[in-house]
Amino acid sequence: MLERSWPSEGATRVPYWVYQDEAVYAEEQRRIFHGPTWSYLCLEAEIAEPQSFVTTFVGEMPVVVARDASGGIHAFENRCAHRGALICMQARGKAERFSCIYHNWTYDHAGNLLNVAFRKGIAGKGGMSPEAKPETQAPKQFKVHAFQGLVFGTLSKEAPSFEEYVGPEVLPRLKRVLVKPLKVLGCYTQVLPNNWKLYMDNVKDTYHASLLHVFFTRFRINRLTQQGGVFVSQDGAHHCTYTKMVEDKGDAYEKDGMRSASSQAFKLESPEMLHQVDELGDGVSIQILSLFPGFVLHQIRNSLAARQIVPKGVDRTELHWTLFGFADDDEAMTRRRLLQANLVGPAGYISMEDGAATGFVQRGVAASPDRASVIEMGGDKVGSGDSRITETAVRGLWKAWRSHMDL
């Protein structure tokens, strides 16, 4: 049990030990990543063919996601029942079955133990007793749910259905993007020098978007004066924010003399990079959606991507980006998506700062585990609204986190 208590202010304070404490981190693995939550595993398009597989992570747990010969999708812990070695060491591929390299125990696509090498010994010598039950240490198997081309998994019998888990506020916003079969354009990993929750927190922080990412405001792509809004699920766990396609003429930033106010002289020589085709037909230029605990889906103009948050210790996180398009994209659309790839990822015009900012928090709070962040923009409630000058979705994250952690 954790001997920690939350600041008396409640929802508007988050103490800094949440990003630092090893015991909290270990407890999160158990209660959250192995608990009644759904974690993103991969795109269905990455395991399109029968007997194909990818390896990934759920929290710290290494995981194999595989499609069997008849098309069913499975996910299981990448840990051999025998001595615990990785069952599969490649990032992706095709396999009729999985054989652990150490002593050659084999598994099917669902992670069931098929064969123990020399189980009966040789010529009546060696081998295991007939009573031995190596299956008791079998790798854990996930319940898997494929949703419009995305694959999610849970280890918990108590988890609600995926649709119930996401809830009616955010589910339609997820469907909105995933309208057709997907095609992978590529992937990469951004290594963040901070606790995993600082990234989730950043994604849900609609207040920072136009203040930290100055590229937006310089070119009037996304300023808080534009039309948009925030949706937060009942339990606070999931969120979605969007901005409409209007180029705003407001001068709120100039009036406040903020860093992100436009300098007249600054103009893109090659603005074609930003040109958006309204392919989803609702005039939304940016939608950022997050599902607790570690999934983000973005539509930034015509750039589409899944971001998977993988914790690697209290102060290190890997962000796995998979950029995709639709299977029926024409050449012009693919070119547009590749040009707009400049906006996102570790070198993204509007995303590179996130890694720096969250790392600054990790470093800034180093000596102050018992101080807390002030999260009072938009009051102290958690809920949907049409202003993005709010930290409602951040409070939602902590509401959900506290309920899982019983803190």
Binding site: Y188, V191, S263, L268, E318, M352, A356
Partner: protein, 148 residues
């Protein structure tokens, strides 16, 4: 061929000396710059980490780094070696290996990237018509601001 090695060296020094404004001028007017990863290349996936077509887009990158993007003060040191050259009539093809060391203001130093440059160089102008930077690793630490 001395001129090619010299081009690579001047390019590296410009970036390492923080002369970002000179960077677009190492490319022809319509020169292409693309950072990719070996993994995506091997899988035939087109996703770039950075992708600029022509000097105006290269200059946009520099403008953004100077005036829009926020990142901790840092410098690079490029080490370029094993330069291969294949001469043609209008252009030269070159392949070379690179290491980029990143040095933060507090002195923290790390091997930030390794990989190879695959270049097409205009014979007439002795500038890059295309420079593809293929990173060996799919991982990027924190952020990639200064070009490779």
């Amino acid at each position: 061929m001395k001129e090619v090695e010299n081009l690579h060296a001047r390019y590296a020094h410009a970036l390492d000396d923080d002369r970002l404004e000179d960077w677009p001028n190492f490319f022809t007017e319509r020169g292409v710059y693309r950072i990719a990863t070996a993994e995506n290349e091997a899988r035939g996936l087109p996703l770039p980490v950075v992708y600029c077509e022509g000097r105006p887009m290269l200059r946009d990158r520099v403008q953004s780094l100077r005036h829009a993007n926020i990142y901790e003060p840092q410098r690079y040191r490029h080490v370029i070696s094993s330069v291969l050259i294949e001469e043609g009539k209008d252009f030269i093809k070159s392949a070379s290996s690179f290491l980029v060391v990143r040095i933060m203001e507090n002195g923290e130093t790390m091997l930030f990237a390794s990989g190879r440059y695959q270049d097409r160089i205009s014979v007439k102008e002795m500038l890059y018509e295309e420079r593809v930077v293929i990173c060996d690793s799919r991982r990027f630490d924190t952020l990639l601001a200064i070009p490779l």
